[in-house]
Symmetry: C2
């Protein structure tokens, strides 16, 4: 079996390492890639073809792990050459996922949850062809959510809505705690019910959110636009607070 | 040493059990108590005096564990007879705590966090006399927060602001998840970062909040009124959502 990668960043590189089997070969291309990516490809165990068109033609599974903004373009350019499964792992909205899926016959909606280089990355899959990728569970924990394209993307948005709004709630709670000189006590008392790592986790969430508040607020805006049939009282006020 | 109880409900009864020492005697009174409370007192190892005035006069530590609405009244009536420490464990606002403290010379602001009959109830204390009660740590985990009266009450409010707002965020998130047929998947994906008990904990929080939404919304209103110098964007929208 041949697995091809469009894009060879952290996700592709780590997947090529994790999926280690004598029956599986990997292919990608250095076509129009950055010098850094080309170095990483050369260090890996992945065969290099001249073009991504060839990669698509040769692959039984074609994995697109690009930047979100190139995800649709990659599908438009190479999806049509793909005779096997086209697995999109880009962090894109459900709407973009649907658009991408129109450019490949056997499309699977996917996402890596958790850091790919952590102890327990999990591969989430959805779509009518997802079952065909269940063999990957031997190499990386693989969960099939449903046979509906878009469900993985929706679930990512939903998760992001919850965690980002929670982070803003933490920011607000800490503001009150600090104003009352009860910062440490707040962490301590809540760790009784929220777990021993509550302080560390909360502090990293707060920092993370404040350090990239512009990006987080754009992501919250996308979430609100996507789930526009829901009221989203909490998510909307998280956005309001972030924008101040 | 003599410890007296004003009010003999779950908290007092369990404290009398936990604080088991040959050097400590307990006293309370059946004066104006309900038949159920009188039965519980008779079953316990606590000496019964005729009046709460006598209880106050005799105690080295007088513990008030009543209903919130009787807390101030108890202090007004018996605080003046108390020669030792007056420990208030009622679930009252910081403002009420300050009022109560004016009726006793050596006042300590306290709260039991976690269920009193659970494995790990913790006694939180604040105020200039809190140190004098640190010996209780031998019987029940005891944390002194500060030497400021009101800090325990503020911390309780802060905790309640966080957990109640979080519960409303959970309600909102589950509404979106259900609308997208991703309820179980939402719990599953979040348990990866929020802990294995995320589903059980979230479901019990949601139920709890929906089953007593009127009381929760009153408590949120009190929180907003108390911390009125803070913006409380998130807490306010939790109240808004609860009131719908």
């Amino acid at each position: 079996m041949i697995i091809g990668f469009i894009g060879f960043g952290k996700v592709s590189g780590n997947l090529a390492d994790l999926i280690s089997s004598p029956d599986i070969e990997f292919v990608t291309s250095t076509e129009n890639r950055s010098p850094e990516t080309i170095r990483n490809i050369k260090k890996s165990n992945v065969e290099v073809l001249d073009t991504f068109r060839e990669v698509a033609l040769k692959s039984d599974i074609l994995i697109s792990a690009n930047s979100p903004k190139n995800a649709l373009d990659a599908a438009v350019k190479y999806g049509k050459y793909c005779k096997g499964i086209y697995l999109d792992l880009n962090n894109v909205s459900p709407d973009t996922t649907f658009k991408i899926s129109e450019h490949a016959d056997d499309f699977v909606d996917g996402a890596i949850i958790g850091k790919i280089d952590s102890n327990n990355p999990i591969l989430y899959l959805s779509g009518p062809n997802a079952e065909k990728l269940l063999f990957l569970d031997e190499f990386i924990e693989t969960h099939i959510i449903s046979d509906r394209i878009g469900d993985v993307s929706k679930l990512k948005l939903l998760r992001s809505a919850y965690t980002k709004t929670l982070s803003v709630l933490l920011i607000e709670s800490l503001e009150i705690a600090k104003d009352n000189n009860l910062e440490n006590e707040f962490y301590e008392i809540l760790s009784l019910t929220e777990g021993d790592d509550f302080k560390d986790k909360s502090q990293s969430r707060i920092e993370n959110t404040l350090n990239s508040s512009k990006r987080k607020s754009e992501e919250l805006k996308e979430i609100i636009e996507y789930f526009d049939e829901n009221e989203l009282t909490m998510v909307k006020s998280a956005l309001k607070k972030l924008n101040r």
